[in-house]
């Protein structure tokens, strides 16, 4: 494995409170301690003007394999991750069949190994077949490599089952991730319930459907001592509930998706199904509350909910089209545009939410950090390169994005996984024989 | 009101004299037992019909019905026009059956407008007869149509424009010609040419 020198970048590692211009050395798949290095490198990366940070970790993606390979495969999804600057993804278990057994989890790891793109960590189902009735074999899932549990897409509707899951998962100190939504309040729903759904005559999904389950699950986590993680938080009230739960010492965490802090339900006026997601786009006051939660660290994670759907599925009538958008390849530019360039977060704060915090959540001890000896998963971001998002260029098999045509500034430039340069936009990587710049 | 490049052929008094002569002829040829109905083709055929009818009534002492005909829906060049005209509506406040109908228009040119007007009138009923009265006949017919009563016949170039202005929708009566190259944009007073 090559010795790599990343030269002159702005090194940001929130896990060590680091933000300085300097050199980063990688050898044998590991990060060398800061200040360490050799006389010569086999690969030299000129990172001047760029951000060098721990590889980004997206804790919420759908890779569709097995079952819906027409939308995405583990290989294409993991390649899309790299193109977006993401070195590790946690994939949701709503495949066909669901990832609810050890064998299913091991299949994911095997396919990811074959693909040799980004690292892939399976998230196991909470219930057998994601049916919401009986607990899945959580212990065996952990043995198969599951890093967390969720029935994502289908909320765990039964309070009793959620309580058992929170209790039982304490055995493994794994988090339960919940898509919070009271199902009976969102029957026939297409978009956020409010003035826009009234205007368009589309079925509404009230914010209260999310709020009620967030409140319930925080309370259940409180009485069980389990870890509840609120997926794709989207409402002002839910942010407040998480904030208040944390204040009480409940083991609750929350993630936000870029579309939930950059778009609103007004976008649905185009009837474009690329604005149809679940949870739905909410109102401006919800967007502001989500940003507020990101700022005060009530929301410690930014995740994409990368949900690929083949064109023919998404090109249906809006009530027939499936929920969800691809997100891996727009994570960095949209986060930068909506949060950093607008002054809400600094780069170190945003990187913490996309790298260090996810590693801690999933128990990935050698990831999400640039300290010496850590896995050499590194993302190099060009923060100032004006470009236009073009879905046709996506590596993801699916192109269902609402951000096509957006003018953005930040972009993942070069991505190193396990000490290998697995993705680069070119121009800055020099191989063997190149001398180290003074 | 006079535009650059316009050449006035007839002024107000001249137009009055033409109207009087046309009304006289229509009054003379009126059939005693048959209703006489004037139908103006929108836009300037309408004030023309109204004024002719007033004059005929003065001469004969008998009422003459006046209607307005919207021929847009019958135009053969409709499909070619980029934006379709605002419809002003057909208003025929009398029964056209068995009446002597006189179609009235300001300028007779290719004859296509009158072809459309004939179709439009015949869709309203079956008149006893249809005649045509125009203020100006400028030639260049593309269809076998001739006027029965003409105020003024003039020779024009194929590309020239003939404009008629009539009270009360214009400030004064006059007939002008515009040589093609001097044409200024003044569609409201343009005679209805074929495409």
């Amino acid at each position: 494995m090559a010795t790599i020198l990343i030269n002159g970048g702005r090194i940001i590692d929130p896990s060590q409170g680091l933000d300085q211009v300097g050199d980063l050395w990688i050898s044998r798949g590991r990060i060398l301690p800061m200040g360490g290095g050799f006389d010569d490198a086999e690969v030299v990366i000129d990172a001047r003007g760029m951000i060098v940070c721990p590889g980004l970790i997206d804790i919420h993606v759908h890779l569709r394999e097995p079952g819906n390979e027409e939308d995405e495969t583990i290989a294409t999804g993991a390649a899309a991750a790299l193109a977006g600057g993401v070195t590790s993804v946690a994939c949701m278990p709503n495949t066909i069949p669901a990832i609810d057994t050890q064998a299913a989890a091991e299949f994911i790891l095997l396919q990811a190994q074959r693909a040799r793109q980004a690292n892939v960590f399976p998230v196991g189902a909470v219930s057998k077949g994601r049916q919401g009735a009986e607990l899945a074999e959580l212990g065996q899932l952990v043995a198969g490599g599951a890093v967390a549990f969720t029935d994502d897409g289908a909320p765990v509707a039964s309070a009793d089952l959620m309580r058992r899951a929170l209790q039982y998962s304490r055995m493994f100190d794994r988090v339960i991730m919940q898509h919070c939504q009271v199902p009976e309040l969102t029957v026939g729903g297409v978009m956020n319930e409010g003035i826009e759904s009234m205007r368009l005559g589309l079925g509404g999904m009230p914010a209260a459907a999310e709020d009620i389950m967030v409140a319930r699950d925080i309370r259940l986590a409180e009485i069980t001592g389990g870890r509840i993680h609120i997926q794709h938080i989207s409402t002002a009230r839910s942010v407040e509930l998480v904030r208040e739960g944390k204040r009480r010492g409940v083991r609750v965490t929350a993630e936000a998706c870029p579309h939930h802090f950059s778009l609103t339900d007004e976008n649905l006026r185009t009837f474009d199904s690329n604005f149809k997601m679940n949870p739905p786009l909410r109102t401006w006051s919800d967007v502001e509350a989500v940003i507020g939660g990101l700022k005060d660290n009530t929301i410690e994670f930014i995740a994409t909910d990368h949900a690929p759907h083949a064109r023919e599925k998404k090109m249906r009538e809006i009530d027939q089209a499936p929920f969800g958008i691809v997100g891996l390849e727009t994570l960095v530019p949209i986060t930068a545009k909506a949060l950093i360039e607008s002054g809400h977060l600094t780069w170190p704060e945003a990187i913490a939410k996309m790298s260090c915090n996810p590693a801690v959540l999933l128990g990935l001890v050698d990831k999400g950090t640039l300290r010496g000896g850590a896995d050499a998963d590194v993302t190099i971001i060009d923060p100032e390169t004006r470009w236009t998002i073009d879905p046709a260029e996506f590596r993801s098999k699916s192109k269902n994005t609402p951000f096509g045509g957006w003018e953005v500034n930040a972009r993942a430039h070069t991505v190193i996984v396990g000490g290998e340069v697995r993705y680069t936009r070119g121009g800055i990587v020099q191989h063997a024989g190149a001398s180290v710049p003074a | 009101m006079k535009n650059l490049g316009e050449h006035r052929i007839s002024d107000g008094p001249a137009v009055e004299r033409m109207l009087a002569a046309m009304a006289g002829e229509l009054a003379r040829t009126r059939r005693a037992e048959v209703a006489l109905r004037l139908v103006g083709v929108r836009t300037r055929g309408v004030p023309l019909a109204v004024r002719l009818a007033g004059e005929i009534e003065r001469l004969t002492g008998e009422p003459v019905g006046v209607g307005a005909l919207e021929i847009t829906l019958y135009r053969d060049d409709l499909a070619l026009s980029p934006a379709w005209p605002v419809l002003r509506g057909t208003e025929i406040p009398f029964d056209i059956e068995r009446a002597d109908v006189v179609l009235v228009d300001d300028v007779l040119f290719t004859g296509r407008t009158i072809r459309a007007a004939l179709n439009a009138v015949c869709d309203l009923g079956r008149p006893a007869s249809v005649r045509l009265a125009v203020l100006v006949d400028r030639g260049h017919r593309e269809l076998p149509i001739q006027a029965d009563v003409v105020g003024l016949a003039i020779e024009t170039g194929r590309e020239d424009h003939v404009r008629v202005r009539l009270r009360p929708i214009d400030p004064a009566d006059e007939i002008v010609t515009v040589v093609r190259n001097d044409l200024t944009d003044h569609p409201a007073t343009e005679a209805r040419p074929a495409p």
């Binding site: 409010g194 003035i195 009234m198 205007r199 368009l200 005559g201 589309l202 185009t270 009837f271 474009d272 023919e312 090109m315 249906r316 009538e317 809006i318 009530d319 027939q320 | 307005a68 919207e70 847009t72 829906l73 019958y74 409709l78 499909a79 070619l80 026009s81 980029p82 934006a83 379709w84 605002v86 419809l87 002003r88 509506g89 057909t90 208003e91 179709n119 439009a120 869709d123 309203l124 009923g125």
Partner: protein, 325 residues
């Protein structure tokens, strides 16, 4: 007012390729359609009720939802303009075989359609289609979103009866939440200066409608004396099955227009119903057929409105410029 007067005041010239909804139209554009419709109302009074304006054009009725009345009205309107018409109903189509509605529309366009009249149970479908085909599109009802020609014929009926729309109090009665007729009426009536009152049980007229500038009332008898126009919307019985009101008989008790309720209103209260009406649910038969009812005028005006819309949109189809395979 005569047709001439309407036309003279119609400052707006129609420039749109499609009629997708009334929310996006200006007051001037709505008035232009109403004025044009007056010209076509005259055509319908002739012994020969047909003009050659749309000769050679093909109007396709693309209906993904049953509606004999609207489809018939559009067909007849197209025929009176001398267009060729063709009906296409989803049940008889390949849609059940998995063909997307966009593919279906493209196929129909390839057959030479100039105008697609589309009815679909999903909001926004005509809008989506307008991005994928070249022909002009008329929304003949998209789910609970809009039904522009229905609202236009309601407005035409009001204007013909009252000579104006501005300043009138117009009540829309019944299931507002699920009604495309209500939405199109609200947009158009507000733009033309009417006071719009929405009346029905809170499950069918939920909170939030005030934000469209409407007055929301749940007690019909309270608001009735103030109304100039009562537009009675159809109740779909499946709403009762979803528990939005306890029973049809309870609904009728509170909201059915009866002879007694007509007495509560102004003597010249104008009664509209988009139909098909459920006699004995929204209206009693004597009220439906009574002197306040303009239901049959609405049907006649619907024809004139649809002729006007077909005419105005045809004017925007550039001759010979469209791509055809």
């Amino acid at each position: 007012m005569t047709a001439t007067n309407h036309a003279e005041t119609a400052a707006a010239v129609w420039t749109r390729k499609h009629l997708l909804g009334l929310e996006e139209l200006s007051a001037e554009e709505i008035t232009a359609i109403l004025d044009t419709a007056e010209s076509f109302a005259e055509v319908s009074t002739r012994s020969r009720k047909k003009v050659p304006a749309l000769q050679g054009r093909i109007v396709f009725n693309l209906f993904f939802e049953n509606s004999t009345r609207t489809r018939t009205s559009f067909s007849l309107a197209a025929k009176r303009l001398s267009a060729d018409t063709q009906d296409f109903t989803a049940s008889a189509s390949s849609l059940s075989k998995g063909e997307s509605f966009i593919d279906t529309a493209r196929n129909i366009e390839a057959m030479g359609a100039d105008i697609l009249v589309i009815r679909h149970p999903t909001p926004g479908t005509p809008h989506l289609l307008s991005q994928h085909v070249d022909c002009a599109i008329i929304n003949a009802g998209d789910g609970a979103h809009e039904h522009p020609t229905q609202a236009l014929l309601d407005l035409m009926t009001i204007r013909r009866a009252r000579g104006k729309i501005e300043g009138l109090s117009v009540c829309l009665l019944g299931d507002i939440a699920h009604s495309r007729v209500a939405r199109s009426n609200i947009h158009a009536l507000k733009k033309l200066g009417a006071h719009v009152i929405l009346c029905g049980p809170p499950t069918l007229v939920p909170r939030g409608w005030e934000r469209f500038g409407c007055e929301v009332v749940h007690q019909l008898d309270e608001v009735l004396p103030r109304c100039d126009v009562m537009n009675v919307l159809r109740i779909q019985f499946e709403r009762q099955q979803r528990g939005l009101f306890p029973s049809v008989s309870e609904y009728s008790q509170f909201y059915m227009m009866t002879k007694d309720r007509i007495r509560l209103g102004k003597p010249d209260l104008l009664l509209l119903a988009p139909g098909p009406i459920n006699r004995g649910v929204e209206l009693t038969p004597e009220v439906a057929d009574g002197p306040n009812s303009a239901i049959l005028d609405q049907v006649a005006n619907g024809l004139a409105i649809r002729m006007a819309v077909l005419y105005l949109l045809s004017g925007r189809i550039e001759a010979g410029s469209r791509h055809r395979d």
